[in-house]
Amino acid sequence: MTAPAVTVGATVDERPVGLWTDAFRRMRRSPAAIIGGVIVGFFVLVAIFAPFLTSFDPARGNLADSYLPPGPDHWMGTNIQGQDVMARIIFGSRLTLGIAVLSVVIGVSVGAFFGALAGYFRGWVDAVIMRAVDVMLSIPGLLFAIGVVTWLGRGVVQIAIAIAVLNVPIFARLLRASLLSLREADYVTAARSVGVRGPTLLVRHLLPNAIGPLIVQATLALATAVVDAAALGFLGLGPPDPATPEWGMMLSDTYRYLNNAAYLAFFPGIAIVLSVLGFNLLGDGMREALDPKLRR
């Protein structure tokens, strides 16, 4: 790591600590980051071990069992098709986490690529990319995603792409800003003065130091992605197969049955809130841990 980890006036036996070790150490002391990490870890485990956590098939329902309130057999009740709500939430975590991760990975890669181009080359490349970013940011997020999904067609990958599209301008702008401020950093000037040029400068010296804010933003983007994916599902733009256990789709239509089956809205909603809260807490904790201003 090329982080300037030299501590002025450090005692001899105190070894210099890198940014990541230091950040990790401080994250362990931040209650927000720990709670966030535990919640996220919980959902990841649920997604991995989904088939072992329930004996019900999330897609198969027994019409004789429809609208059962929460009870000993169905802990979270059943829906109109008699499908077990808990099984659908458990298996839905795979879809939700999958869409969130896929959309953020696409959004970060494409966004960071254009941001790096803009911040590195500047000039007209920068101008063109940044105007495109302005245009994309001037369409309200959820509307943009609705537009993309209606045009791409419904489906898991399409939803991930639609949410990724919202992330591209954010990450492009973020990386460009870090690169522009890092250009003036002393260690970059030093590297340049000893003859480091071009891609080496970018890959070895600029990018590793710009990656902290990018990771923080990516974690927070996971939270937004969960909400946006659920919002699309809620609006009827989820995967085309209605048997797909998607949290947002599970909430869709529940506003019609609130007076007799409010639990149908309650449990999937709690799952969404908890996972979003987890990513938000983790992101906030990471931001504080990685912020050099808060380092001692």
């Binding site: 369409i139 509307l143 209606t150 067609g153 609006l235 009827g236 309650f266």
Partner: protein, 335 residues
């Protein structure tokens, strides 16, 4: 000042052109031919060709774009595939309802968010501050549609103290539509009971839509007040022996609110997107419900025009915010 506004207006032109180009390309280049969307999957090739010709889809792309732009300049965005009604007319008729809803949400967010942000900043590190931080984090993490569902369930069904949907009790009040802002129309008709009833209908959807902005405004206000509290001029004002009420209002809040103004502009995007969800849950007859119905019915013409018009409004609101920011902050005005 005039120069500043003029420069901002000129900068707006390429952005607006970009937005129209982006939406146009989306419509034309991606799969999903509007002609087959109108006719359905089993249309004959001849029929598809006829519709494509009628819609001008067989002409070169740049001609189509210019045609689209000129239509936009004449405020002609075509008509709904489904109802054949003029899209701009429909939009304008429903937009006031959305304005009313977003205004209520923003009012809720500001009247609670600014005092709470100020309070938690002044009591930094206290239990109140921690509680505020946790609450704002939870507020940001609750999706609008879930909060809306829970509010409706709690306050309209379990404890029915507020109306569960609509903009006014249609059985009790027959208000002539003038501005399409229900509260204003009721007042114009002299129906004061109707004004109260319309306001009651605004409470639940307003809270559902306003909670995320509330959490964000509270966070920004807190951070900004903390910054200002460390400024020399605040220490001076306190040292002069000014009552803390005056220091807070004249010196702290006035300077701390500048970042909040910028955030309000950005919130408009969230509010307009969130309006789709809120209006669906509360049966609110605004632009959001209109777009939702279009999504359900695959009415592409309405979806794309609705997205475009709301994007235009978002851009204009941000322009207005930039300009008001320049009015409020002399440091920008004179630089």
């Amino acid at each position: 000042m005039g120069k500043f506004i003029l420069r901002r207006l000129l900068l707006l032109i390429p952005i607006l052109l970009g937005v129209t180009l982006l939406i146009f390309l989306f419509i034309r280049l991606l799969p999903g031919d509007p002609a087959s969307a109108i006719l359905g999957e089993r249309a004959t090739p001849e029929a598809t060709e006829r519709v494509r010709n009628a819609l001008g889809l067989d002409r070169p792309l740049h001609e189509q774009y210019l045609e689209y732009l000129s239509g936009l300049a004449r405020l002609d965005l075509g008509s709904s595939f489904l109802t054949n009604r003029d899209v701009v007319d429909d939009f304008l008729q429903r937009f006031p309802a959305t304005v009313e809803l977003t205004a209520a949400a923003l009012l809720f967010a500001l009247t609670l968010g600014i005092p709470l942000g100020m309070l938690t900043a002044k009591r930094r590190g206290s239990w109140m501050d921690s509680a505020g931080t946790v609450l704002s984090l939870v507020g940001i993490s609750i999706p609008i549609f879930f909060l809306g569902l829970m509010l409706k369930w709690l306050f309209a069904i379990e404890v029915p103290i507020l109306p569960d949907s609509g903009r006014i009790s249609l059985i009790d009040y027959n208000i002539p539509r003038v501005t399409n802002l229900m509260t204003v129309d009721a007042a114009l008709a002299g129906e004061w009971g109707g004004v109260v009833d319309a306001l009651r209908h605004l409470i639940l959807p307003g809270i559902a839509l306003g909670t995320i902005p509330l959490a964000i405004i509270m966070r920004i206000t807190r951070a900004s007040v903390i910054d200002v509290l460390n400024e020399d001029y605040v220490r001076t004002a306190n040292a002069k022996g000014l009552p803390s009420v005056i220091v807070d209002s004249r010196h702290v809040l006035r300077n701390a609110l500048l970042p909040v103004v910028t955030v309000i502009g950005l919130q408009t995007g969230l509010l307009l997107g969130g309006a789709i969800l809120t209006e669906t849950i509360f049966g609110w007859g605004g632009v959001g419900k209109w777009i939702y119905d279009a999504v359900v019915n695959n009415d592409y013409q309405v979806i794309q025009s609705g997205v475009l018009l709301l994007a235009l409004i978002f851009v204009l609101v941000n322009l207005a915010v930039d300009v008001s920011y320049a009015f409020l902050n002399p440091r920008i005005r004179y630089s």
